[in-house]
């Protein structure tokens, strides 16, 4: 008796916790509302399954607990019932899967007009690169990395000379424009993670990965690393600032290009050797 | 990954056919009694446990080599991949291993005919050729190292050492079993059923290792490049 009651309380408690919990998903700030919707749908379907199964179990515990003289029914199987349960479960799974796959299809199809930017992870901070006037990012390779070229841009590639380098870990993005984030790591695995935009993706050394999103809310967001990258992992933070197109342009023009950064470095070296 | 796909299709087909024959579709509660359901056709002796164990071990080893092959093809995509030159001695080694396999098959045939002397000779030839194969493999390693194709200088070299090394270790294990069998046969005056099984197990294992070696050799000399391309095309 009391056991059935406890099981019911577990179910009721879980539901109450869900309703009353102050720990909810962060307010969404990107176009990936569909992800939240799919998750909501998953919650409804699976939650109903959980409640149904455990309540049924609790009823059985209450109704069929041992009493002197009781004898269990003999029923090896009931193929019809099992087939029905199988069909219902399959339908439920399809209900979860179909929208999930549709949204995944969108997730991996980058809009043609998306602005390409690059996020580079290194133990333990974030750097960014935006295309310059030519709207193209130059090629890069780990081999080119040295103290004056932290992101390893190819010095010979003309496309890369006007690329804007952002090494302060603060990325600005214009509101409402789709962004394709190219991800590059120069040491270990990292993961570009901003909870508010829902999307995330690993940075894998040796290859360039990507994902895309459209910022839909002006604000300041924290960039975390979501792939364990050594003892400094939790300290690997960056800032993503979503602002109006005009503010973004103003910020963009203030950034240093690759060419400039090399010149200023060379100048500093010269000064250093002169002293 | 396609390698693993093929491997699993094979393994699961065997497993599911076997299960079906064992009556997994039946309703056990409807059947009572003992003999009625003692599923072993009269006269057909069950295979010895060691043989079943070997079959399962071959599945495990097959899985291991398939995974290595899958890794070989996946890693081989990278632009830095540069296969080392293949030492000519490998052709001779292939011949040795094939000869070893043939010798053990001959030993099995002789054992079934209860010809003790021939079994002894065939086993010794088999062991000797396998031993020379191992020496030949070491020779090939030495040659590559002398030419400065180190494991650390290119992943293709590393795979060469890894694949041949894992294969050689399996063969060393086989040689231990073969030595024990040879020892038993040496002291035997006539061939018992048990000895025949021993010889048979060695022969099966040798054929398996020869088969693996042939596929591996094809991969190393690049005959399997086409397969890698097909894999990539299937996946994209």
């Amino acid at each position: 008796m009391y056991i059935a009651l406890v099981m019911v309380l577990v179910v009721v408690g879980s539901i109450l916790f869900h309703i009353l919990s102050p720990w909810r998903a962060t307010p969404i700030a990107s176009n990936w509302g569909f992800i939240d919707d799919t998750m909501g749908l998953t919650f409804l379907v699976t939650g109903a399954g959980f409640v149904a199964v455990i309540l049924f179990m609790a009823y059985c515990l209450y109704r069929f607990s041992h009493q002197p003289g009781r004898r269990a029914a003999y029923e090896p199987e009931n193929q019809k019932l099992e087939a029905w349960l199988g069909i219902v479960t399959t339908i439920a799974v399809i209900i979860l899967l179909a929208p999930g796959l549709l949204v995944w299809g969108q997730f991996i199809t980058v809009p043609k007009d998306a602005m390409e930017i690059e996020a580079v992870g290194v133990q333990w901070n974030w750097s960014f690169r935006l295309p310059g006037a030519d709207n193209q990012l130059g090629s890069s390779d780990v081999r080119y990395i040295d103290s004056a070229n932290a992101l390893g841009l190819s010095p010979a590639d003309p496309k890369g000379q006007d690329d804007l380098l952002v090494t302060a870990g603060e990325l600005h993005l214009p509101l409402g424009k789709p962004v394709k984030v190219l991800l590059r790591s120069i040491d270990v695995l990292h993961d570009f993670y901003v909870p508010e935009i829902r999307a995330k993706m690993d940075l894998v050394p040796g290859i360039v990965t990507y994902f895309w999103f459209t910022p839909t809310k002006i604000g300041e967001y924290e960039i975390l690393c979501a792939a364990y990258c050594g003892t400094g992992h939790p300290q690997m933070r960056g800032k993503m600032i979503v602002e109006s197109e005009a503010d973004f342009e103003a910020w963009r023009t203030a950034q240093q290009t690759f060419e400039q950064s090399r010149k200023s470095d060379a100048g500093r070296d010269k000064r250093a050797s002169a002293q | 990954m396609s390698v693993m796909g093929l491997f699993f299709i094979f393994i699961f087909t065997v497993a599911i056919l076997w299960l079906a024959r064992q009556g997994v579709m039946e309703s056990p509660w409807l059947e009572e009694g003992e003999v009625a359901h003692y599923r072993r056709a009269a006269g057909a002796e069950p295979p010895p446990a060691t043989k079943v164990a070997l079959a399962i071990f071959l599945a495990v080893a097959g899985c291991l080599f398939s995974l290595l092959a899958a890794a070989f093809f996946m890693r081989g995509d990278a632009p830095d991949w540069q296969m080392p030159p293949i030492p000519g001695v490998l052709w001779f080694n292939t011949f040795l291993l094939a000869a070893s396999s043939v010798a053990l098959q001959a030993a099995l045939v002789a054992a079934r005919r209860a010809d003790v002397e021939r079994v002894k000779t065939a086993l010794l030839i088999g062991a000797a050729t396998a031993g020379f194969f191992l020496i030949g493999q070491m020779w090939a390693w030495r040659e590559l190292i002398e030419l400065k194709f180190f494991a650390s200088s290119n992943a293709a070299n590393a795979f060469f050492y890894l694949l041949t090394g894992v294969h050689a270790l399996h063969l060393v294990g086989g040689l231990v079993a073969l030595a024990r069998t040879t020892d038993k046969v040496r002291n035997a005056t006539r061939i018992t059923k048990e000895l025949t099984t021993s010889v048979e197990l060695c022969a099966i294992y040798w054929h398996f290792l020869l088969f693996v070696w042939l596929l591996m050799f094809a991969m190393l000399i690049g005959w399997a490049d086409g397969f890698g391309v097909i894999c990539r095309r299937l996946l994209s």
């Binding site: 379907v45 029923e75 899967l97 040796g206 | 009572e32 291991l64």
Partner: protein
């Protein structure tokens, strides 16, 4: 249909299965230390697994204390924290759960349940244990080497795991890989034994479809483990070569802390494929034996045959096959070709169907049953709740797009602890309470058992259920400290403190279990041969605890399936598998 050719009420013919040449122990050492009897090996396996399991439990307290009170505990720094996370995960998954289900329960129960005298290859079986023991010792030894154990996370992802930014990169990682390689070699010896014993040593009349689901679960898990562990083996060998010889299997050209490394062209994702090729089946290697055992516990203590036995067997097979092709769902955001996402999402959610059918059949077994609320039954019920809860959160993570925001958050941690941590551990406890009388001849204390159950079940649920919500909030896993983070409210810390206190309490409550375990050894009520009045073969041994060779002079002959409970017309509410059919008995 009773076979007409068998005369009724006549002593059964002698068993046809040839008697194995039995190993005889000559001294104390060969009887208890280097022993080849599967039952002793089972105890050795379980004892070792539980011992390292306790170490891993203590490590989980280190993790929890740090998460609730960051910086307040003097001896916990980032290094210790990541080392604890790594060792806790690896020990629990591989050295505890895998070893106890297959090495412990597999060794004890397979021969008894299929009516064999011992494992088919007892010597190999003994070797298997000793190699396992050496593997655990190598692992634990890493605490005594410079740099300590590796802190690479239990997934050991390169390049991180072999670089200097990771604790234990000097020796810890090498010992970890060596230990895993040893474990796999040892396991392969054991696994061959389990599979061949089930295939070859079943007694007369024991068809595959007359095996208890426990044997089915362990058998399927052993087959899967044999096919999955080579993935880990290959990954470990190649990673070890990358670390020691400087090969470039997994590590591309990188610049680590300003220094160009020698590596070139390696693929970190290749390692992830190999690792999860093992890693996902591993979940079911742990789950399938638990499924099997829980089926038997429910059936025995509800005095009712397991509902839909055939479906249960087919589901085990289907899960076993499918689980080999779902590994990519751990890699949805790993940067692998995103088109794989479609394939792995479909296979992953497909596996939910046979799993759900198993759950339905467990609860349907309770319908019109005669439920005895013994301690093993309570643990089985606890398993049902935690498994269903953990199973449905798997539907979130398997559905590729829903996984994107949740991956690498505490939601994942909560999910896998619920489904492959708490659920199987509850089954292990239930199974120990259930089979303890057979192993020792004495009952465990029911009152203490129930107290242990309620604390463990409700406590564990209270630990991991709320944790999901921290994951939904977006709190990432593997964070040594959250620090100042805008989206994390202060109340999250309160919840973390609650979880930690509960975890400590539940951990300490396990001492009730150990007290019960050792006290009952001497003071437990004598159990008799079959205290639960169970039908399966292991309860029908002539001696309790079963002697060497299990069956006395003659092997048992099996006449029916192991779920003959409450059969109409039968005098008792159970029909042992080896009781000869009598006239008048119902034969539908």
């Amino acid at each position: 249909m009773t076979d007409a050719s068998v005369p009724q009420n006549v002593a059964p013919p002698p068993a046809e299965v040839e008697d194995v040449e039995l190993y005889h122990a000559h001294s104390w050492i060969t009887k208890y230390v280097f022993c080849q009897d599967a039952k002793v090996i089972a105890i050795q396996y379980a004892g070792t697994a539980i011992t390292v399991g306790i170490l891993a439990l203590v490590l989980s307290w280190v993790i929890r204390l740090q998460l609730a009170f960051p910086g307040a505990i003097p001896f916990i720094d980032a290094q210790v924290y990541y080392q604890s996370v790594t060792m806790h995960g690896m020990i629990m998954v591989v050295y505890m759960l895998t070893a106890i289900f297959l090495g412990g329960f597999g060794n004890y129960l397979i021969p008894l349940m299929v009516g064999a005298r011992d494992m088919v290859f007892p010597y190999v079986n003994m070797l298997s244990y000793w190699v396992y023991l050496i593997a655990t010792l190598v692992l634990v030894a890493s605490y005594f080497f410079p740099g300590g154990p590796t802190g690479a996370g239990w997934t050991l992802y390169p390049p991180q795991s072999i670089l200097t930014g990771t604790p234990g990169h000097e020796w810890g990682i090498i010992l970890m890989l060596a230990s895993l390689i040893l474990f796999i070699i040892g396991f392969t010896m054991g696994g061959l034994n389990y599979v061949v014993t089930v295939l070859q040593a079943r007694t007369r009349g024991m068809t595959l479809m007359r095996m208890p689901l426990t044997v089915w679960g362990i058998f399927a898990a052993a087959v899967m483990a044999l096919l999955a562990f080579p993935g880990l083996f290959v990954a470990c060998v190649m990673l070890l070569l990358d670390r020691t010889l400087g090969t470039s299997f997994f590590v591309p050209s990188i610049v680590e802390l300003g220094e160009h490394k020698e590596y070139v062209g390696g693929s970190p994702i290749l390692f992830q494929h190999l690792f999860w090729f093992f890693g996902h089946p591993e979940v079911y290697i742990v789950a399938l034996p638990a499924f099997g055992i829980v089926s038997d516990l429910i059936s025995v203590h509800a005095r009712k045959n397991i509902f839909g036995y055939r479906m249960m067997v087919w589901a085990i097979i289907a899960i076993g096959v499918l689980s080999m092709v779902v590994w990519g769902h751990h890699m949805y955001v790993s940067g692998m070709d995103p088109w794989f996402g479609f394939f792995f999402a479909v296979t992953t959610l497909a596996i939910a169907v046979p799993t759900a059918l198993k759950v339905y059949n467990w609860v349907l077994t309770l319908w019109h049953a005669d439920i005895h609320f013994t301690t093993p039954m309570l643990f089985a019920l606890g398993f049902l709740v935690t498994f269903v809860n953990g199973g449905i959160t798997g539907l979130y993570l398997g559905n590729v797009i829903v996984d994107v925001p949740l991956s690498a958050t505490l939601f994942v941690v909560a999910h896998f602890h619920m489904v492959m941590g708490i659920a199987p551990v509850l089954v292990i406890f239930g199974a120990i309470y259930h089979w303890y009388p057979k192993i020792t001849g004495r009952m465990m204390d029911e009152r203490l058992g129930k107290i242990h159950f309620w604390i463990t079940f409700l406590g564990a649920y209270a630990i991991f259920f709320p944790m999901h919500y921290l994951g939904v909030l977006g709190m990432p896993r593997r964070f040594y400290e959250m620090g100042e983070t805008a989206f994390v409210p202060a109340s999250a810390t309160t919840l973390n403190i609650f979880i930690t206190i509960t975890a400590l309490a539940v951990g300490f409550a396990q001492s009730i279990f150990f007290y019960n375990l050792f006290k009952s050894l001497k003071y437990g009520a004598p159990a008799g041969g079959n205290p639960w009045r169970a039908a399966s073969l292991e309860w029908q041994t002539p001696e309790t605890p079963p002697g060497h060779g299990n069956w006395g002079k003659q092997l048992p002959v099996v006449y029916r399936w192991p779920y003959g409970y409450s059969v109409p017309g039968a005098p008792e509410d159970y029909l042992p598998q080896n009781a000869p059919p009598v006239r008048g008995e119902r034969s539908p």
